[in-house]
Amino acid sequence: MKRYLLILLAALASLAVCAALALAVIERPEARTDLPRVVAHSTEHAGAPHPITAVLLDFRSYDTLLEVAVLLVAVVVALALREAQPDGPDRMGLDNPLLRAVMSWLLPLMVLVAAYLLWAGSTRPGGAFQAAAVLAAAGVLLRLAGVRLGGFAGERGARRLRALLVLGPAVFVAVGAGTALGGRAFLDYPADWAGGLILAIELALTLSIALALLSLFRLAPPQSDVERLPERRRRTRE
């Protein structure tokens, strides 16, 4: 009985919020400033000719830096929790010859698409986040096909993984510190260098974000193993 009451209450509350939101969107007044026009006007002075890239990596680059940090926090937490609970043998990967065969075709294509998205980001839709998502997807498919990403195994591999994860935000912070030490505002790129600096940041971000997404996938405990975890742990200890 109490359960139904709770569900009813939750449904009513959700409906009320929905109605309020719908009214708020319908009734919204004319905005005071036309920020999209300001963006369009200022983009020619920014380091990237595409307005979205200009907003993400020039006008509001500080937001982007903190967002990348959020992603890194998630991976750090996953790493810490996963290392606290030792894993059994790696059994991720489907025994599926078709997937392997398709992957050998898809992989070069996906890397190419990622590189294109990264490069295209400066002039049209695309950029580091999209490129990283494609790269990460390629990594996930490789894992599912049973391919070990051997470079990140063992103690040295773990250190390499961390270095690459940190690379993106580190380059971002370093560029910001450089501009600040050069007497400009933080992340205020010098006009001649703006394009190159933004591309360098995006390149580093692509690697780090792709690896972060892939790591989150790799570190998640596989669903089917949940019941067998105690048994597996016992085996690891022996």
């Binding site: 919020v17 309020a20 939101l21 009214l23 708020a24 969107v25 009734e27 919204r28 007044p29 905005a31 005071r32 400033t33 036309d34 920020l35 300001v38 963006v39 200022s42 020039d58 006008f59 509001r60 680059s61 500080y62 937001d63 830096l65 903190l66 967002e67 940090a69 959020v70 890194l72 926090v73 998630a74 750090v76 937490v77 790493l79 810490a80 929790l81 290392e83 606290a84 609970q85 250190r159 961390r162 270095a163 994860l165 940190v166 935000p169 580190a170 912070v173 910001g176 510190a177 600040a180 030490l181 007497g183 400009r184 505002a185 933080f186 992340l187 205020d188 790129y189």
Partner: protein, 491 residues
């Protein structure tokens, strides 16, 4: 070079560095950098006190196109408070966690959290505040989960869901405000709303936006009755983590809420809503105090004490909203001093509780029997923090309550006096409950573990600071008013 971006980038760089560094270097590096950052924070406060509020347009783009960092007296004060609390916690963690498995995750998350806190204090942009809240929330959840036990994971999950719901509500509000006004900069919005007057700025869109944002922030601040996630998360975490979460993290959402209400101005924040928040705060004081009294475990008692103490801070909203200038100023002073006093005292109390639990080897209050004879120092730190929480003179807690009391008198809102007095009595009851067990003579033989001296000293430093702040509160309160609405004469 401006200090403002450095205050965010230093801890962020430290987070990146401590993700890479070998484990044994992270603790010493943490303490050394915390000292450095405390110095930078004091430098900022000095600049603000000397030259007035500071601003820095990031990327060289002025708002509304870019994001500005702004340090007025309040922001600079919070930056210094953060450093004051975080430094002893870093020392406590460097020695208390040394060699333990959790140290690997602790240091990066500690630094991410500090970066997010400084980012929030200094931000003057609604969306940037959202990103700061996300970074802060996720780092805090990670710190709670670090222990890895089933209880810690459950508490972290609950905390994560509450934090995400709060952020989501806040984000929807940001989107609506942007749609309605066309800017994300706090200063712009305040100007537009004041200019448009009640009729237009009271439009439905703005009201829904502010309502959703406030609700989300209340959930993140754990105001009664939205506090359910707090006691397991704060009570179950490692001692330095509990200290940081209770002292600073929940204050960040409250800080944004205060900025939001001041931005919206009296037209959009009618006194009735202020009364509602005040009433919830009053309920929090009594419910939190009552629940603290009934806890069997020491750290959970301290966690429920946080639920209670948050309540006092919400008396700000009804008291600041009145037209009476004196009452508003007293409410501003009293609330901020209460915030600082609670941050110092609660951090000290959690560290002291951690030391006591370490010494006794059991989380239960009943097992403290006999501790007063053998570990008086741990107990004294706990007591010093308790004095401030109870609001006994000469602590900062007392001064803050005194200011709030006078504000309640000046504005004629007598009912809050009962809350201040009753809450003080309840805190006395639960603090003395700990002492009652601690002062019972136990076994004549010393069977307790000895926490390292630095652990004791870091708790003692925070507890003493909460007392000392009460003696020298005059100057900090004047600094906090720099650049506030009170300085311009409009409440």
């Amino acid at each position: 070079m401006s200090l403002l971006p450095a205050l965010v980038m230093l801890p962020l760089s430290a987070a990146l560095a401590s993700t890479l560094l070998p484990l044994r270097w992270r603790g010493p590096l943490g303490v050394a950098l915390a000292v450095l950052l405390a110095g930078v924070a004091c430098g900022l406060l000095r600049t603000v006190v000397g030259d007035g509020p500071q601003a820095h347009a990031l990327g060289g783009w002025a708002p509304p196109l870019g994001i500005a960092l702004v340090a007025d007296g309040l922001a600079a004060g919070m930056v210094v408070l953060t450093a004051t609390v975080a430094l002893p916690c870093a020392l406590h963690a460097a020695l208390g966690l040394r060699g333990e498995a959790v140290e690997d995750g602790f240091w990066p998350l500690f630094w991410f959290m500090w970066a997010a806190l400084n980012g929030i204090w200094l931000s003057a942009d609604l969306f940037n505040l959202y990103v700061g809240l996300e970074l802060l929330g996720l780092a805090a959840v990670g710190l709670v989960a670090l222990k890895g036990s089933a209880g810690a994971l459950a508490a972290a999950m609950r905390y994560l869901l509450a934090a995400l719901l709060g952020s989501l509500a806040y984000l929807i509000g940001v989107a609506l405000l942007y749609a309605a006004w066309g800017s994300l900069a706090l200063a712009d919005l305040a100007g537009f709303m004041a200019e448009a007057g009640v009729a237009q700025s009271g439009s439905l869109t703005t009201l829904v936006a502010l309502g959703l944002m406030s609700a989300g922030l209340l959930l993140k601040t754990a105001l009664f009755p939205l506090h359910g996630w707090l006691p397991p998360a704060h009570g179950g975490a490692l001692p330095p983590v509990s200290a940081l979460l209770s002292a600073l993290v929940i204050k960040a959402s409250l800080y944004i809420l205060m900025r939001l209400w001041i931005m919206a101005g009296p037209a959009l924040t009618p006194l009735a809503l202020g009364w509602l928040l005040g009433a919830l705060g009053a309920a929090a004081v009594f419910w939190g105090g009552w629940m603290a009294l009934r806890q069997a475990r020491l750290k959970h008692l301290v966690a429920y004490s946080t639920v209670a103490q948050i309540g006092y801070l919400f008396l700000f909203f009804p008291l600041f909203g009145v037209a009476n200038m004196d009452a508003a100023r007293l409410a501003w002073d009293g609330t901020l001093l209460m915030l600082a006093a609670h941050a110092l005292a609660k951090a000290g109390m959690f560290l002291a509780a951690g030391n006591l639990v370490l010494a006794v080897g059991s989380p239960h209050i009943a097992d403290l029997t006999g501790i007063s004879r053998f570990r008086p120092l741990s107990l004294m730190s706990f007591g010093l923090a308790g004095v401030s929480l109870m609001g006994l003179p000469p602590s900062a807690g007392f001064t803050a309550k005194w200011l709030l009391l006078q504000s309640a008198l000046a504005s004629g809102q007598w009912v809050w006096i009962m809350v201040l007095v009753g809450g003080g009595l309840l805190s006395a009851a639960y603090v003395f409950r700990v002492f009652r067990h601690a002062f019972v003579e136990g076994p004549a033989r010393d069977r307790f573990a000895s926490p390292p001296l630095a652990l004791e000293l870091s708790a003692l430093a925070l507890g003493s600071a909460s007392i000392a702040l009460g003696l020298v509160a005059q100057a900090p309160l004047e600094w906090l008013r720099i650049g506030s609405p009170l300085a311009t004469g409009v409440p």
